[in-house]
C-alpha cells in the first residue's frame, strides 16, 4: 500500500516536472525541471526493486549529463525565451497523437499477462531484476556482443563530435 502511494506521488512529481520543463521560459529552470524528472524516475525504479538501475540513473543522468546541460546553459549565458503559440499542425496532429500513444501503451500493459510481473508487483519478480548481479549477467553473457558494439558506436560518436567541433589545423594557427 505504502509502495503504491509513494509510486503515485513520485509519478505525479515526474509528470509535473516534465510539464514544468515545457512551461518555463528560462533554459536553466527547464534544465532543473529535467533533473527533477530524472530524480523521480530513479525513485520509481527504486520502488520497483531495481535499486542498481536507480543508482545509475541518478549518477549518470542527474549527476553527470544534466550537470553538462546546466554547464552549457551557463557557458552560453542563454537568456529567457519567448513563448510562441505553436503551429496549428502541432495542436491538430500532436495532441491526438500523444493521447493515442498513451492509450495504446496503457492498454498493452494492462492486457499482457506478464505486466504484473514485469512491473515488479510480485515479490519474486522484485528479486529477479534490477540488481547489479542480474544486470551484469545479462550484459556480459547474453548480450555481450550488442553491448560491446554499442560501446564502440558511442566511442565513434564522441570522436566524431570532437572532430566536428575542433577547428582545422590551419585556422588554429592563425587565431
Amino acid at each position: 500500500m505504502l509502495h503504491l502511494i509513494l509510486f503515485s506521488v513520485f509519478g505525479i512529481i515526474c509528470v509535473a516536472g516534465a510539464v514544468n520543463l515545457l512551461l518555463q521560459r528560462h533554459p536553466i529552470n527547464s534544465a532543473l525541471s529535467l533533473v527533477v524528472v530524472m530524480g523521480s524516475l530513479a525513485v520509481e525504479y527504486l520502488l520497483l526493486g531495481a535499486e542498481f538501475v536507480a543508482a545509475i540513473q541518478v549518477i549518470v543522468y542527474a549527476g553527470a549529463i544534466m550537470v553538462l546541460f546546466v554547464f552549457v546553459i551557463m557557458l552560453l549565458n542563454a537568456g529567457e525565451e519567448e513563448h510562441t503559440q505553436g503551429s496549428r499542425v502541432a495542436w491538430l496532429l500532436g495532441l491526438p497523437g500523444a493521447l493515442a500513444i498513451t492509450v495504446v501503451i496503457a492498454w498493452a500493459l494492462v492486457q499482457s499477462e506478464g505486466s504484473a510481473v514485469a512491473l515488479g508487483v510480485t515479490p519474486d519478480a522484485q528479486k529477479a531484476f534490477g540488481n547489479a548481479a542480474d544486470i551484469s549477467q545479462l550484459l556480459f553473457h547474453q548480450f555481450l556482443l550488442p553491448f560491446e558494439v554499442t560501446s564502440i558506436l558511442v566511442l565513434i560518436a564522441i570522436m566524431g563530435a570532437v572532430v566536428l567541433a575542433a577547428r582545422p589545423e590551419s585556422e588554429r594557427r592563425e587565431g
Binding site: A62, G63, V67, L68
Partner: protein
C-alpha cells in the same frame, strides 16, 4: 524488531549522527585553522576558550547575527536554493555510511549506521554527484562574473574528476564483490603473511587506486591544490562571492561535510573500516571499533589539512590535463591490472 521500535531507534540514530556530523564539521574548521597555523609558525585561534576550542561556537553565533545581504542583481529563487542544495546533499550522504559494528543494548540490537543498503557505495556517489548543482547554480544565479567563472570551473572540474574517482573504486569493488559498504569492510577481515592486515590498500595494487582516490577526492571537494573554483587571487571568492551570513556558512558546512564523507569512504574502502585490536569488557568491545574508525577519519582529515598547508594551487589547464591525461589513464590501467589479479587468484 517491531515497526514502532524501529522508527524510534532510527530517529534517535539520525538525530545523533547529524549532531555528531555537524559538530565534527565545526571542529574540522578549528583543526584546520590550528594545524595550518602551527605549520606557518603562528598559533591559530587561541582567544575563545582553552586552545581556542570555543571558536567554532563563536563563529556560528557570528554567522547567525550577521546581516544577510541579498544583492539586487541576483536571480532570487536559485540564489536562495543553491546553498540549501549544497548542504542537503553533503549531509545526506552520511546516511548509508557505517561507523562500526552492531550495538547491543539489552534486547535492542542495531548497527552503527542509519541504514544499510546493498548499493551503499553507489548511493554515496550518486548523492555527492548531485552536490555540484549547489555550486554551479550559486555561481550562475549570483549574476556576477567572478561567481559565474567559479561555478563554471567547479562544475567542469567535478564532472571530470568524478570519472577518475569512480574508476579508482572499481578495483576495490572487484576484490570485495559487493556494493554494500558493510560488506566491503567485512571483506577486509584478517591478516596475510601473518601480520599485514587484510586492508584493500595493501592488496592487488590498490595502493595506486588509493592515490588516485586521494587526488580525485581533493578535486571533488574543491580543496587546495585544486581549489580553482574559489581561487581568491583571481576570483575574489569564486562561486560564493555574493553570499553572506548563514548562506555563506552553508557552503562552508557543505565543503567540510563533503571532506568528512570522503574521509569516511577512504577509511571504509581502503583502510579496513573499523577493524583494529578489540579487548576489555563488553561495552568497550562494542565501542572500540567506533574509536578505530574515527581515528582513521581523523588521520585522513589531517592529511587533507597537511596538503593544504604544503602545496600551491594548480593552474586551470594543468588541472584539466592532470585529470584527463594522467589520472584517468592511470585509473583504467589500475582497473585492468586488478582484473588480472582477481582472475588469477
Amino acid at each position: 524488531m517491531s515497526i514502532t521500535l524501529f522508527i524510534i531507534v532510527s530517529v534517535i540514530k539520525i538525530a545523533l549522527i547529524l549532531f555528531v556530523l555537524l559538530t565534527a564539521v565545526a571542529y574540522t574548521v578549528w583543526l584546520e585553522r590550528k594545524v595550518v597555523g602551527h605549520m606557518q609558525n603562528r598559533w591559530g585561534p587561541t582567544r575563545v576558550g582553552p586552545f581556542g576550542l570555543l571558536q567554532p561556537a563563536a563563529d556560528g553565533v557570528k554567522f547567525l547575527f550577521k546581516e544577510d545581504l541579498t544583492p539586487p542583481h541576483v536571480y532570487k529563487p536559485l540564489y536562495i536554493a543553491a546553498p540549501m542544495i549544497a548542504v542537503v546533499f553533503a549531509v545526506t550522504s552520511i546516511a548509508v555510511i557505517p561507523f562500526g559494528n552492531w550495538l547491543n543494548v539489552g534486547k535492542i540490537s542495531t548497527p552503527f549506521q542509519i541504514t544499510d543498503v546493498n548499493i551503499g557505495l553507489l548511493v554515496v556517489l550518486g548523492i555527492t554527484s548531485l552536490g555540484v548543482y549547489g555550486v554551479a547554480l550559486s555561481g550562475w544565479s549570483s549574476n556576477s562574473k567572478y561567481s559565474l567563472l567559479g561555478g563554471l570551473r567547479a562544475s567542469a572540474q567535478m564532472v571530470s574528476y568524478e570519472i577518475a574517482l569512480g574508476l579508482s573504486l572499481v578495483g576495490v569493488l572487484m576484490l570485495a564483490g559487493t556494493f554494500s559498504l558493510r560488506g566491503i569492510v567485512d571483506a577486509q577481515a584478517g591478516h596475510f603473511w601473518g601480520f599485514v592486515p587484510n586492508w584493500f590498500i595493501f592488496r592487488g595494487g590498490q595502493i595506486v587506486a588509493f592515490f588516485i582516490y586521494l587526488t580525485a577526492a581533493y578535486a571533488e571537494t574543491n580543496r587546495i591544490p585544486f581549489d580553482l573554483p574559489e581561487a581568491e587571487t583571481e576570483l575574489v571568492a569564486g562561486y560564493h562571492t555574493e553570499y553572506s551570513a548563514m548562506k555563506f556558512a552553508m557552503f562552508f558546512m557543505a565543503e567540510y561535510a563533503n571532506m568528512i564523507t570522503v574521509a569516511c569512504l577512504a577509511s571504509l574502502l581502503f583502510l579496513g573500516g573499523w577493524r583494529g585490536p578489540i579487548f576489555g569488557p563488553d561495552w568497550l568491545q562494542q565501542l572500540l571499533p567506533l574509536f578505530w574508525f574515527v581515528l582513521r577519519v581523523f588521520a585522513f582529515l589531517f592529511v587533507y589539512i597537511w596538503v593544504r598547508g604544503t602545496l600551491p594551487r594548480f593552474r586551470y589547464d594543468q588541472l584539466m590535463a592532470f585529470g584527463w591525461k594522467f589520472l584517468l589513464p592511470l585509473a583504467i590501467a589500475n582497473l585492468v591490472v586488478t582484473a588480472v589479479v582477481v582472475a588469477l587468484t
